[in-house]
Symmetry: C2
C-alpha cells in the first residue's frame, strides 16, 4: 500500500517542516511515527530502536538503528533508510551520534523512551532537544487526500455497527457490559475492520466516567448506554460515540442531549481551514456553558486521528494552532452527571479544501432501544 | 496482596537509594514502576500520568498526577500518595514543578514519555535529569523474599507446560506454529497463569531468529522447535525456553546442545552474590567461544524479571554492576545457525543469601519428540 515514493514524499515533507522550525536533526523512536517513515514500528522500548537523520534536503537516506535480534522482517529501503543492527555488547547511542548535529536543534518523537533521550542528551551536550510533535504540530497531522479517504472508509464501517445497536439488533438489557463489549468486537470485525482498537460500553451511572472500563454490571431497562469504539483498516482508525436509552427518554436526559447535539454541530461548523483549533473547543464549550452544562463537560473536545487513535492535533481550548487542510480529528463533547448518567456524541472530521467533512453519518439523535 | 506497609517500605527503600545516588527528586511515569509504587500503572502516554516526589526521608506523601478522565478506580493512599487529577485545560507540568528541586538531581523512570521529560526539563532548567533505572541499577531489581517466592511459584507453573511439550502431549508435526502457539496459550492459563505475556514457537530454520513471530509455517518431522513463553501470576512473570527435536537428533545438533547446556550451567554457577553481572555473561560466552560457537551466540545472556518480563538488571558482558541478594534474572544462552536451526536454554534464577536458585526445573536435555 505504501511504496518507496510515499516514504520519500513523507521524508521530504518532514525535513522541510523541520528545517522551517530551525531543526538540524531528527530522532524517531519506537511506534507509529517510526512506522510512518520506514514501514516498521519497532518492537523494543528497552533496546534502542530509532531512525535518526539530518534534516537538510540533500541528506541521503536515514539510519535505522535496531537490535539485531529484532531485525527479522526489516528490510532496508535503500533510497529511504539504511540499516544499522546492533548487538547487546554494542553501544547503540554511538551509532546515532554521527548522524546528528553536535550543536544544532534535534526533534525527538514522543515514542523515544526517556532513558534513550537522556543518553542522547549526554552524548550530545551542545545540542538542543525539542519534542517533534509539539514543535511541528504533529508529524502525521497533515493527511494526504488518500489518507483522508482511508479515514472516511473506515468511518463508514464503524457507522454500520452503531446502526445495528440503534436498530435494536444488539441485545442490551439483561446482558453485562462485558458481554456486549464482546458482541461489539465481533461486529466490528464482521463489518470489515482488520483490528479492534478499543470498545467502551458504559451503562447507567458508569456512563458518567468518560474512559470507563466495561465490567460485570448488567444493563437495566430505563437507563443510558454509551458506546465509544473503533478499529482499523489498512492502518487507519475509526473512533465514534453514540448513546442509546433503554426505554422512553426522560425530559432531563432529552434536554441535555439536545444541547449536546447543538454543541457538537457548532463545533463542527467552527472547524474551518484557517480557524484556530482552540476555537472548535470553545464553540462546543461555550454552547454547553450557556445551556448550563459547562461544569459537566470535563474533557477536551477532540483529538487527532490517523494511524493512531489519539494523535496531533488536539482540540483543546488553549491550542492556538491553525486548522489546515489535511487535519483529521474527533469532535466529541460530552455531559457527565456523576452518579446518574453521561452522554457523548463523537464524529471524526477531516478538513478538505472546502471545509470540514464528517467521516461518520449515523443518526445523531438519542435512540430509545427499550421495548416500551 | 500489597498493603500500605509494603508501599511505605518500597518508598523508603527507593528514597534511601536515591539519596545515596545524590538525587533530590523523583519523576515516575506510566508503567510498572508507577504500579510498584502506587498500585496503579496509569493508562495514558499522551496525557501526563506520573508520581513525583522529593527524596528526603521526612518528605510526606508523593503526588500522583493523572488526567481526571482516567481517574476512575484510583484511590489515594494518604500515607503514600495524594492525588492530583488534572483537566484538559490545565497544565500538568505546573502541578509537578513545586514537588521537584529547582536545581537538584532528578531521577526519571523509563516510562516517562520523552515529550513530558522535555517539558519538565524546560520548566526546571537548573535541574539535572538522570535515568532512574540506570542510576540505581533498576528500581525494582532487588526483590524481597516474598517477591522471589512469587517468581518461584510462577516458574513452577511454566515448568508444567514445558513438561507437556517434552512428553509429547502437544502435537507438533503437521500443525502450524500459530496453531501450536494457541495451544500453548491455553495450557499456560490452564496450569494457573493469570495472563499470557508471550509465546514464541519457532520451527526449523525459524528457530535461528531469537525473537521469531510464529506464523503459518507447518512443523515438519526431523527439525528443531524452540519454545520460549511465559505468563504472570499475582503480577510476577515466568519466562522459560526449552527446545525439542521432531525426530532422532543429528550429531551436529546434539553436539551444539551439549555445549549450550554446559554454557548455561557455567553461567548459573557464576551468578554468586558479589560477582559481576558481566561475568555471568562472560561465563556462558567464553564457554561457547571455546567450543567454536561464539559467532552464533548473538545476544546477551539474560535480563532481569519481576513485574515486567524484561527489567533490570541486564546480564550483558559490559555490565559492571555487582550481583546482590534479591536479584532475579534469566540465564539464556543460545546458538543460532542461520538457515538451519537455532537453540536456546533459559531458566530464571533468583539470588538468595546462599547463592543462585533456579525457578525452573524441567529437564534440560534436548528431547526427541518424533515418532521414530
Amino acid at each position: 500500500m505504501t511504496d518507496v515514493d510515499d516514504y520519500l514524499e513523507r521524508w521530504a515533507v518532514l525535513r522541510s517542516r523541520a528545517v522551517a522550525a530551525g531543526a538540524q536533526g531528527l530522532a524517531i523512536g519506537t511506534g507509529k511515527d517510526l512506522a510512518y517513515l520506514t514501514g516498521h514500528g519497532g518492537q523494543s522500548w528497552e533496546r534502542l530502536t530509532a531512525v535518526v537523520a539530518a534534516t537538510a534536503p540533500d541528506t541521503g537516506p536515514a539510519l535505522f538503528i535496531t537490535p539485531k535480534l529484532e531485525a527479522e522482517g526489516i528490510t532496508a529501503i535503500p533510497e529511504v533508510f539504511t540499516f544499522a543492527p546492533w548487538e547487546d555488547s554494542d553501544d547503540p547511542i554511538a551509532l546515532a551520534v554521527p548522524e546528528l548535529p553536535a550543536r544544532g536543534r534535534i526533534l525527538v518523537s514522543d515514542g523515544l523512551p526517556s532513558q534513550h533521550l537522556l543518553a542522547l542528551q549526554r552524548a550530545l551536550p551542545g545540542a538542543e532537544f525539542l519534542a517533534l510533535n509539539e514543535t511541528l504540530g504533529g508529524m502525521r497531522a497533515l493527511k494526504t487526500a488518500a489518507e483522508r479517504q482511508a479515514l472516511r472508509t473506515v468511518g463508514g464501517l464503524v457507522d454500520l455497527v452503531h446502526d445495528q445497536i440503534r436498530n435494536g439488533e444488539v441485545p442490551l438489557v439483561g446482558r453485562s457490559e462485558l458481554e456486549v463489549q464482546d458482541d461489539v468486537r465481533r461486529r466490528l470485525l464482521a463489518v470489515g475492520h482488520e483490528t479492534v482498537e478499543f470498545v467502551i460500553v458504559a451503562s447507567g451511572p458508569n456512563s458518567a466516567s468518560p474512559h470507563h472500563h466495561p465490567g460485570d454490571r448488567v444493563i437495566q431497562a430505563h437507563e443510558m448506554v454509551l458506546f465509544d469504539f473503533g478499529g482499523s483498516l489498512n492502518g487507519f482508525n475509526s473512533d465514534m460515540t453514540r448513546c442509546v436509552f433503554t426505554g422512553p427518554i426522560p425530559d432531563d436526559v432529552g434536554d441535555a442531549w439536545a444541547s449536546l447535539r447543538e454543541a457538537q454541530e457548532l463545533a463542527f461548523r467552527a472547524a474551518q481551514p484557517g480557524a484556530r483549533l482552540g476555537d472548535v473547543d470553545l464553540a462546543a464549550r461555550s454552547s454547553l456553558e450557556a445551556a448550563g452544562y459547562g461544569p459537566e463537560f470535563i474533557h477536551r473536545t477532540g483529538h487527532g486521528i490517523g494511524t493512531e487513535v489519539h494523535e496531533h492535533p488536539y482540540v483543546t481550548s488553549n491550542n492556538d494552532q491553525s486548522i489546515e487542510v489535511g487535519h483529521a480529528f474527533s469532535i466529541e463533547p460530552g455531559i457527565y452527571r456523576v452518579g446518574k448518567w453521561g452522554m457523548r456524541l463523537e464524529d471524526i472530521v477531516v478538513i478538505d479544501d472546502d471545509g470540514p467533512v464528517r467521516c461518520n453519518n449515523t443518526d445523531r439523535d438519542l435512540a430509545n432501544v427499550g421495548s416500551d
